[in-house]
Amino acid sequence: MTNSKARPKDAKAGEVSAEIYSELRITALQAQTRRHFLRTLGSGLGTLFVGTALAQYAKPGKEFARSESAALDFTRDPSSPLSELPPQFSAKVRRVIYLHMAGAPSQLELFEHKPDLKRLDGEDCPASFLAGKRFAFISGVPKLLGSQYPFHQVGESGHWISDRLPHLEQHLDDICFIKSMRTDQFNHAPAQLLVQTGNARLGYPSFGSWVLYGIGTENQNLPGFIVLLSGGKSPDGGKQLWSSGFLPSVYQGVQCRSHGEPVLYLDNPPGTSRSLRREMLDAIDKINQQTYATFGNPETITRIAQYEMAFRMQMDATDAMDIHKEPEFVRAKYGAKPGESSFANNCLVARRLAERGVRFIQLYHWGWDSHGADAKEALNLGFADRCREVDQPTAALLADLKQRGMLEDTLVVWGGEFGRTPMRENRNGQEMKYVGRDHNPGAFTIWLAGGGVKPGITHGQTDEMGYEIVKDPVEIRDLHATMLYLLGFDHHKLNYSFQGLEQKLTSVKPARVVSEILA
């Protein structure tokens, strides 16, 4: 070692020890002779040979390991957990807009045309309808209830539809109905959880979280999974509906407000400049990095990523959510009025977000729980208002997506969490003041439109009363498997190790891709 540079007197102990170490290493290297070299070379080559020669005997084990590890790899650079990954196979759908009608709209007042039920309106419900069934409120012998609204056929597809959705009915040729959806939950919160997370219990990741985990998101300046609420109340399932469950929390949905700041406290407080904000974040980042280096908790990385995204969002989110930026005629098409917290505004925002590469957009519109307990819940009053609130915006969203060519690779899903009974609700066995229906988990209708879905068709069928499925039942997990297939995944392969299981969205029961509705 020839380097005998004078050290500053106040050199730290760590530096000294490092130098001693490198000095020792060089001395050791100098002690190496040609004989050492030849000996290492000889034995080294020999070891290499033996290693490769013996490797073949280890093969059976290796083969086993490989067939086991057919699982897909979703690991990413920890500093960009939302970065894009290609799907398993070529996907028809790049983004999803899920319009969840919280409270479960009555299919019998919208899409299920049942003339026989109308004919028997007011008759006592047959006993076979009640045997072995549990209801939320119906008791005793309820009366059958025909549709409250007239039906007519529209479009080339000849779908039947009631008169409540005059705007949407112009788009039925782009829509695929599943009239044989089924669930095993008859209360709102668990049923909504089942629809959105594939499981009726708390703690499971939302569909949107799985999608973000699977393919990430394109626009790193916006959350990849955005939730917008309207209807005056949060859905019964609460924030669990867009939680990331056991997936890293960076994949959870971000609830945005449709007026004001999209996310509360997103803007800098008065007197704080963007550069000051940047410096502050850099300092916090440094501390968080140290924490991560010490404890290795991925949630720390999530936190860093969230801070960074919030910083980038300050520019882009405000712009994306600002429907003032849309021309007046577009706003009019949706019936959107800036400043309101309405489904119309949310639909317009959803289109703007979809354009900007947001992967999963969830809209909840509350107020469909038409039991008939009060005017707001009455099929002939509040229900009609809900229809008015969603009809025009939904139609405008479909039209807009179609016109902009986005319906090619966007999947729009519309539906509630279960259906409603063909019997009139009779709370406590009494005839009620308003007309309503109870929950029916046995059959309900949802519709899909967009990429990869056959337009203008109906899948599945219920009996003449619209009470039970008679053809092609579709479970929630089947719907999920189908949606994942459209997004380019085998639902068995999109999984995450948790509690000793390869967890997946469709859970443990076999799920089927509903190939009949695929274009």
């Binding site: 398993q88 354009e355 016109q403 902009r404 090619e408 297939y485 190939s515």
Partner: protein
């Protein structure tokens, strides 16, 4: 025979004696050529030594010019003296190798133009080698003749060796892993990206080949041909593998392919090995196809009651999830992977493969908005032909990018929504014969481009909302029903 003739014969007796075995080999080749049938085991056993022995004469022949050249220097002149010996040895070795080669070719089930070429190449090498030896020994005064025949011998060795390599390692064994840049310069096409498609109107093309494509070709395809079997083309299916044909037309009992896919998954002979068994419908389809004569011309709907048939009422085609073979994907991507990685680093999140099993690219520049311009797009030239979906919505690209876009020859979807693109770009996109969806929403494009656009053969959707294209202009012509306003 004349006196000088006899003298010549005397003089060359040894040489002619040497040529005798060569003539015998030639006679064997002419009268008993390789015909694709397998023969006696011992002959195959001996024949298998051909690839081993053949390197001996190759090395010897190549040594001769080296010795000749180096021997020009006085201090190495002794090398030249050994050239005669080398050539003699080479001739003997070449004769032996040719004989073994015939054994292999005749008995090992070989046939085809490659074999014929390699075979005659080998004979010519042996002959030229012998002639070199003779001319070296006897006509040492004629340096030129010797030089020329030596050069011919070397060239023949190279050509024959290449053909032999093609026989054992595949037709493109030298260029298979050629870097994309070099490939481009030399104009060598990439076989792996060009795929042969069966006619979708035949039963084979519509029903059978897709099953092979989804379930078999990851091992028995262009990149791997396990058991020497290729199921990616009809010819490959009918040719069979190392154990002979796997499909016997009309004979479902004798078709090994059908037997193997119908076995229980834990059987030793089960195929696809280590993967999920084919569904009963898939097996049934293949059985019906073989039973009907295993033809590649039989019309799509000529077999009645085939499973999953649209004519059969209640059969529903279940979704088969395509298998991904990471190794095959890596090979497919090898030509563009470095360039893609570079671009992904420069432009994060806008360029990616269409899927984990694909080498096609998806470019979504709309995420960058106005920050993405013509100069940025120009950098994608190297991967342009692999881009199948390109979204330039709201970017600041202009007509200057027309050339780059026109180079994306495999584009299926092109989105120019809300860009400054004008008719000039659209007029130049005639080469995009795969284009299915063209989005011009919110551009200044006018009806003048419609004739050019209507010539795109696969176009199914044209988005012309908020453009200067008028509804009246598309009422007639090829675009009617395809335009969305």
């Amino acid at each position: 025979m004349t006196a000088p003739g006899r003298r010549l014969l005397q003089e060359y007796r040894r040489g002619l004696l040497l040529l005798l075995p060569i003539f015998i080999v030639v006679a064997l080749l002419v009268f008993l050529p390789p015909d694709g049938r397998e023969r006696a085991e011992w002959m195959q056993f001996v024949g298998r030594f051909h690839p081993l022995v053949v390197h001996f004469p190759i090395a010897l022949v190549l040594l001769v010019p080296v010795f000749q050249l180096v021997g020009r220097r006085p201090q190495f002149s002794y090398l030249r003296a050994s050239c005669g010996f080398l050539l003699g040895l080479a001739t003997f070795a070449a004769t032996a190798a040719a004989t073994l080669g015939w054994c292999l070719g005749r008995s090992g089930g070989f046939s085809g133009p490659l074999v014929t070429q390699h075979m005659w190449g080998g004979v010519l090498v042996t002959l030229t080698c012998g002639l070199c030896w003779l001319s070296r020994g006897r006509l040492s005064q004629s340096e030129t003749a010797f030089g020329i025949s030596l050069a011919i011998a070397v060239m023949l060795v190279a050509w024959t060796g290449y053909r032999g390599g093609q026989l054992s390692l595949g037709a493109d064994h030298l260029t298979e892993h050629m870097p994309a840049g070099l490939r481009h310069v030399l104009g060598v096409s990439d076989r792996r990206t060009a795929s042969s498609k069966a006619d979708p109107n035949t039963f084979y093309g519509a029903r059978v080949q897709p099953i092979f494509g989804a379930r078999c070709v990851s091992c028995h395809g262009p990149d791997k041909h396990k058991a020497d079997l290729r199921l990616d083309t009809y010819q490959g299916v009918m040719r069979g593998g190392k154990d002979g044909p796997v499909v016997q037309a009309g004979n479902t009992q004798g078709s090994d392919l059908l037997r193997r896919i119908a076995l229980p998954a834990n059987h030793d002979d089960f195929m696809p090995k280590g993967k999920k068994a084919l569904s009963s419908d898939e097996v049934k389809l293949i059985e019906l196809w073989i039973g009907a004569g295993a033809s590649d011309t039989l019309a799509k709907d000529s077999i009645k009651n085939a499973p999953g048939d649209s004519s059969a009422s209640n059969a529903v085609a279940e979704i088969i999830f395509p298998e991904t073979d990471p190794a095959a994907v890596r090979i497919m991507r090898s030509a563009i992977a470095p360039e893609v990685a570079k671009l992904q680093k420069r432009f994060p999140n806008i360029l990616d493969y269409e899927s984990r099993s694909s080498a096609d690219l998806r470019l979504n520049a709309s995420i960058l908005g106005a920050k993405f311009g013509d100069n940025d797009l120009a950098d994608f030239g190297a991967v342009a032909e692999h881009i199948t979906i390109a979204d330039f919505s709201r970017t600041s690209i202009t007509d200057r990018s027309a050339f780059t876009i026109a180079g994306m020859k495999r584009l299926r979807v092109l989105r120019l929504t809300n860009t400054a693109t004008t008719d000039a770009t659209l007029q130049r996109l005639s080469a995009l014969d795969q284009l299915e969806s063209l989005n011009l929403f919110g551009t200044q494009v006018t009806s003048a481009v419609l004739p050019a656009i209507s010539k795109l053969p696969k176009l199914a959707h044209l988005y012309a909302g908020q453009t200067s294209i008028s509804r009246e202009s598309v009422v007639s012509g090829g675009l009617a029903g395809k335009v969305v306003f």
